[in-house]
Every structure is written in structure tokens, then in C-alpha cells.
């Protein structure tokens, strides 16, 4: 486990030095501009707009980092051959993979937390107060982080066996498909031919259900999110990430490097 932490620490350092966290400036500007504009809107919906806008920005910025940096985590190391000196050390390939994953998730956690703090500041500016019910926004931010972790795992899996460009396309495609898992489950009950029903049934089970992570509506309207849902979504993410990373490790452990 120590080796995983060594790689994770270095991956975080890489992200910081490669100015990945500079996106926070963009987010800060967006929040300031939104807060000023939203301030002009009616009192009733300004908080809803602010929260929706903030969470969407956190999600979008995070997704861009997760996909593009996630795909490059391993493929860049293979292309640049920086991996050769590292793998000559007493380190398993799976430890390297898990370390890279953990490092990027840590980066995303710091990034998401900073953006979440920025959102709260913007909410404070708009509403002039923060109430206990606003804690649901924190839960929504946490759900975004879980979603990003799963996206990183998928991006790493694809980058283990295909080119970076295809890995980006596959990850983005799977993410979009994963948003419609609930609809696929619903389609089963409608009048489809048996083959299509079976296909959608299988897909609904196999595809990552990214719809699980969308609690933006509840957060914007200050509705409480059940603790059981938080636990269930956390567990779902952990299990899915473990499966995806397990497959990635199997492929990567037998891969010929350049």
C-alpha cells in the first residue's frame, strides 16, 4: 500500500505543477459573474439558479479533468517512457495503476472541495445567509466527486488497451450512455421485442448508472437526501471502481510497453 501512496502523491504533485488546478480561477470568475447576474433575478429563484449553475460548473469542469487527465494518466507515461524507470523498482504494475488513480481522485477531491467552497461563498453573497438545509449542496458536491472517480476509472481502463483519442471517445460515450440507464430499465416494461428487451436489460445492469449521481434538483430545492442513498451510492461507486480497475490492472499487467 505504501507504493500506491508514493505514486498517488507524485500524481497529485504532477497535477498541481501542470497547473490543472488553475481551472479554479475560471470557476471563481464564473461564480462571481453569476452571483452578480443572479442578484438581479427575483428573490424566489435566485438560490435555485445559483446552486444549479454552480453544481453544473463543478460537474462539467470535473468531468473534463477526469476524462482528459484520466486517459493520459497511463498512456502519457507509456508514450513518454517515464514508466520504465519506475517499473524497474520493486513495484507491481497494479500498484502503479492504483496509485495513479488515487492521485487523480485526490486532485479532483481538492478541486471539487475548493469549487464547493466557492459555491457556498456565491450562495452567501446572493442569499446573505447559509442555513442548515443548504448542507444538501455538500452532498451533491460529494456525489459529483463519486461520479468523477468512476469516470477516471473508466478512462484508465480504456487507455490501457486503446489509443488516447479512442479512450476519450469511449469514456465520453459510456458516460452519456450511463446517464440513460434508468430509461433503459423503464424500456423493459414497454412493448419491445424480446431481443431488444433482453439487450436493454443486460445494458441496464452492466453500464455504470451515472443517473445515480444526479441530485442537483434536490440540492437546488433544498430537499433532504436520505443517508441510505448516500451510503448506497458510495458503495456502488466503490464496487464499480474496484471492478473496472481490476480489469484495467489485468490488462496492464500483461501489456508490452514501448
Amino acid at each position: 500500500m505504501t507504493h500506491v501512496l508514493i505514486v498517488a502523491r507524485n500524481t497529485f504533485r504532477e497535477a498541481v505543477r501542470d497547473r490543472v488546478l488553475y481551472n479554479l480561477l475560471l470557476f471563481a470568475l464564473l461564480m462571481i459573474a453569476s452571483a452578480v447576474v443572479v442578484g438581479q433575478i427575483s428573490m424566489a429563484i435566485e438560490s435555485i439558479v445559483m446552486v444549479s449553475l454552480g453544481l453544473s460548473a463543478i460537474s462539467l469542469i470535473g468531468l473534463l479533468i477526469a476524462v482528459f487527465t484520466g486517459v493520459g494518466l497511463v498512456s502519457k507515461e507509456i508514450d513518454k517512457r517515464t514508466l520504465h524507470a519506475v517499473l524497474a523498482k520493486p513495484l507491481h504494475r497494479w500498484e502503479f495503476l492504483l496509485g495513479k488513480f488515487s492521485g487523480l481522485v485526490l486532485t479532483l477531491a481538492v478541486n471539487t472541495a475548493a469549487m464547493g467552497a466557492g459555491l457556498f461563498l456565491a450562495m452567501l453573497f446572493v442569499k446573505h445567509t447559509i442555513v442548515r438545509a443548504d448542507a444538501v449542496v455538500l452532498v451533491a458536491v460529494y456525489f459529483i466527486l463519486l461520479k468523477l472517480a468512476l469516470v477516471v476509472a473508466l478512462a484508465m481502463l480504456f487507455s490501457c488497451f486503446t489509443s488516447p483519442l479512442l479512450a476519450i471517445l469511449f469514456t465520453a460515450g459510456l458516460y452519456i450512455a450511463g446517464l440513460f440507464v434508468a430509461q433503459m430499465q423503464h424500456l423493459q416494461s414497454t412493448q419491445l421485442n424480446p431481443q431488444s428487451q433482453k439487450l436493454f436489460s443486460v445494458l441496464a445492469y452492466v453500464l455504470p448508472n451515472f443517473g445515480n449521481y444526479d441530485v442537483m434538483g434536490a440540492a437546488a430545492h433544498g430537499r433532504r437526501i436520505a443517508a441510505s442513498l448516500i451510503a448506497q451510492t458510495t458503495l456502488y461507486t466503490l464496487v464499480y471502481c474496484a471492478l473496472v480497475l481490476g480489469i484495467a490492472a489485468l490488462i496492464f499487467s500483461r501489456k508490452d510497453l514501448k
Binding site: T2, K89, P90
Partner: protein, 319 residues
Amino acid sequence: MTAPAIEIENLCKEYPHGFLHLRKKVSLEGLTMQVEDGEVFGFLGPNGAGKSTTIKLLMGIIFPTTGSARILGKPVSDVAMRRHIGYLPEQPYFYDYLTAAEILDYLARFHGYSTAERNERVQKMLKKVGLETAGKIQLRKFSKGMLQRVGLAQAILHDPKLVILDEPMSGLDPVGRREVRDIILELKNAGKTILFSTHILSDAEMLCDRVGVIAGGKLRGVGAPGSIVGVQATGMEIVFEAPASGTIPEKIRSRALKSGGTYRVAVGEAELYGTLDELRAGAAKIISVTQIKPTLEDFFMDLVGKDRAQAAAIEVTGK
């Protein structure tokens, strides 16, 4: 008797090739060799001969199609065994956002050293490779030669039993090459086993106890640098200066190579004294007389020439 440091048994590596990866390109064919404990072994061959492929197979960077290899008695897949190996990759690349000291510290962490021990080793290694003043500079600002030095430092930082260096002299100026040679000799004196690949033959002749010559993915010969090419002199070389007055016999002048005012002529041992007499009679100044022995370079060029001839023959006959 001590077990060999490296044992390679019938190692083959094929790469998928062509549009659908249906064809195979053989990069290494049935390589069998051993590197004994405590020796400096030079792995020689032209570009694309299979040297780096062999080293990558030993380091677990790529996997063999068939065959096996053992390092220090353990299969190459044994990760724990790598504690005792130092590896310098060919044209080493490191994270360019790190400084020299940081990359050494990062790689040293995998060996489980304490912070104090890491700091001490990092400083010692930076000094050894002549980078003590460049430790805090990011690697993106390093020249190729400086990166090579960092590569060497990380390879020996943990005091390994076996050091594998892939083209260690590559990218270095004459001073750097001399320093690397000294480090290799220092490691040898410390009882380390060293395997290094190179196509700079003079380095191999100077440093190696034994060399292995590889060409076209096949091992063509293994032995001491002298024995592998044969020690029989093939002739004598006379270096002389032409007289201001006097004449050089035409039969000598026509065979000699002129460089400035100096001539070089190769003669058989039997005709040495006769040629010297004729030169003296013509008032030439004899600078030196040396034996011509085949060098590793001759052996090497001969092999490459044979390979090309064989490839051309296959192309012509289709067999």
C-alpha cells in the same frame, strides 16, 4: 560456485505487425546466454539488433513470446528481486516537472528508505554524477547528457547487486563518457555485476570482461573482447613522413594513405623489413610500426555485412 547473475534461455520476442496485426516481426530469436556474477558484460549490436528488446524483457517492460530469463536466480517476473537491480533505460525520460533531487527521492522511496537516508543517498548520487549544483533544477531544463546522468544516478542509488545499463554513453560528451566509464569501473571494483548495451565498440573493449554480439535478433558470439575477434595480427601498419628531398618508391606510395605530411601503409608481416629498408633508403622518417589486429568493430561490421548480404540474397531468390 556462484550462480550466474543473469540466465537467458531460448528467449524469443515477436511483435504483431501489419494493418490487422496478423503478421509477426521477430525481434529476438532463441537468445541463450549467461552473465556471470561480478563481471562486466557488454551487449553489442547495431541499431535494431535486439539489445534493448533483451533488456526490456529482463526488466519486465515487455514479455517474451517464448523462453525464459532469470536474474539472481529468480524469474524476471519476481518484483521483489528488483530491489537488487539498477536499471538505466535507453534515452531515459523522467517526469520533467520534478527536479533532479525530487526524481531521485521519488524513486528511492520505493526502496523503503527513511527520509534522512534518502536525502543522504540523493546528495551522494548527485555528486557522483556531477549534478550536485543542478539538484534543484527542473528536469525540463536538462540537456540529454544531464538526463543520462540522472538516469545513472537513479540506477545505482540503492546500491544494487546487478546494474543493467541500456546505452549508458548515449548523449554524453567525452568528459561525460569518461565519467560513466569510471563509474562502471568503480562498480566493478565494488563487486557488482554490470550488463550494458552499446554500439560504441571502444567502450566495450575498454570495460568488458566479456561481450555478446547480437545482430538480427540472434546472438552471434560471446567471449572476451580479444577472443571473440581472434588475436592473430592481420598485418603491420607503418606510419612515416615523406622526405623533403629523396623519393618514396612508387609501389609504396601508391598503397599508402596520405594525411597532411604523414603516410600510412599496411603491409604483410613478411614484407615488413623489406618495406622499411626501402623507406629508409628513400630518406623517409619512420613514425611508428604497429600490428594490425581485427577489432570488435571489424567483427561487428563483418556480421552486419553478412546479414545484409543474406537479406539481399533472400530478397533476390525469395527464399
